[in-house]
Symmetry: C4
Subunit: 192 residues, 4 copies
């Protein structure tokens, strides 16, 4: 099976998710500075989710670039990832519009956790199709980043009920961890 349609479909879904999140930024009726103030937490939540969706798109791009085979199982693992990402706009809106209250912040973490697990399952399903000697398998290696992210999200969910900002620190920290460019796949491809 060709991987181009799976890429195109994922691109479409992620592109739309990014842009419908911005619909939560509703134009206020007043036109002074104070009218913008209530939008600040919504905007901050939007920036965080934009960065997360950008990271997912970027990593997805790299992962599929290194992949060669797409099986029926891979297609469903990909749809499973897109399902959790599709809940991000809801979680973002709930968190942003309620000034990062405890439960919405915990739910945001739960969506990130499920998406991270879904990404890991997708990665495994591609490696299973390609074999342990494939470019992707070698590039991923022990995948400490993916595993650490899952643990950190899992820790952030209860933290949101203790001190809400602790969870935000974790979400931001994990995003920064991934923003640092991941050269594993580019390196493995260059070696090939």
């Amino acid at each position: 099976m060709s991987k181009s349609r799976m890429e195109a479909f994922s691109d479409g879904v992620i592109a739309i998710l990014i842009t419908i999140m911005v619909l939560e930024l509703k134009a206020p009726h007043a036109t002074d500075w104070s009218a913008l103030a209530p939008l600040a937490p919504v905007f901050v939540a939007y920036v965080l989710s934009f960065v997360y969706l950008g990271i997912y798109w970027n990593n997805h791009h790299h992962m599929l670039h290194a992949a060669r085979k797409v099986t029926g199982r891979v297609l469903w693992a990909n749809l499973h990832l897109l399902f959790w990402l599709s809940l991000l706009p809801f979680a973002t809106a709930w968190m942003g519009e309620n000034h990062f209250a405890a439960l919405p912040t915990a739910l945001y973490g739960a969506v990130l956790l499920c998406a991270a697990i879904a990404y890991w399952l997708l990665q495994n399903s591609i490696i299973a199709a390609e074999g342990p000697e494939s470019t992707l398998a070698r590039a991923v290696g022990t995948d400490w980043k993916g595993k650490a992210s899952i643990l950190l999200y899992a820790a952030a969910i209860p933290l949101a009920f203790v001190r809400e900002w602790l969870a935000d620190v974790v979400y931001t920290g994990v995003a920064l961890l991934w923003l640092v460019p991941d050269r594993r796949i580019e390196k493995a491809l260059a070696e090939r």
Copy 2:
């Protein structure tokens, strides 16, 4: 005619349908657990429709992978399928927001029925263009799954007025029937 634009256009429409359905999950104003409760049926309806759109996308992907020719008739048969799929967000919202009441549940089944018939017509129009000896014709065979789905949806519509949950069982059952991977096309391609 090349099939790539028809694939890209269908990917776009299905990707957008999936993501606009999630807009029905509106962020509540309260931030406690009880605020999430009214969203539960909306969420369940979303999951069901996400799975259905995922199945359609997956099968569409396989079907066009096996196809070679795209005629004007195929383009319109494809648009006809997309028309019925485009009504799924409306039917999902009406069913989910009204706690799976009888008429909305029956309408949901009617949309699924029309989409299944449209898929069958699209399949026939491609086979008509490719000939009975084509990969797709051999892969589809008697297509008992497609025909059984159409009969089951047709049965579920009156059932929704008797006991609403009976219709839900049928919709879920048919989805599970398709989630079990359909290896016919992959097998026929491998044999080629």
Copy 3:
């Protein structure tokens, strides 16, 4: 310049226009048959606009299939067409929600008229780039259909103020004219 990105961008815009039109079909709060009645004109307007966007996508697909060169002028002529098509959801909603009142129906015709002129300009800009001996120029020929559509839309606009349904008859008639498959381009390609 390659034409694939122009195709992909146009596909994206038309796919989104089709799907945001369906957002006007808002799920009613009641769950009986009478709750669906007010949606009937909105649904009829949606079907008409879906068919029109399907025709534009289909013809656009055929036209670009026959084209080889894409210049800067062609890119802008394409954006100009997409601009008028982007107003179709607004015109559809205004007409459908107001039970096909005179002014909204006339505005709908004006958007169709502008889109038809924009399509004709796009066709001319491609033929100008390809030359009068090109496949597209021969396929289009005298283009009586395109010219007749422009005249019919122009006639329908004042008719909407006389008897509103006369304009609807014209819009439906022109759509049927185009639904009859246009074999010119397929024929010209086959001859090549």
Copy 4:
């Protein structure tokens, strides 16, 4: 890394941004001419933003056409550009619905300024990957247009608080500057 997915993703985001802007044109409940009057400034703002997104898409198309390599840094520079463009619908709605009041008009200019800087950073990151002897580097040259646009936006922001229409003149003027076809890249490609 291949550039096709970055193109497809950017096309998707820009196509969706264009079409969600049109959602601000809400169908009025009345059906006479006076019902359309309040939509006039919203429509004018939509046209301006449509043209700007068209210019960005067009230039992005040309720039990537001339590019050969896409690195991780380029992918993030592209996402950074898309982030600022994604704020354009919000700025457009705020400006249009408030009859081009001072602060919304200034904010609109600020979004254009940030997008222009992001475009310039993207261009630099591609040139850095391709080298100073690349087609793109030669085509861009001194890039007076890009630099002049940044200066003009920066000047328009304070002007919006003096006389609001002065800022509008600048935004329209810069758009016209870019609408005049930019033959640099086409020329450099032809020379290659």
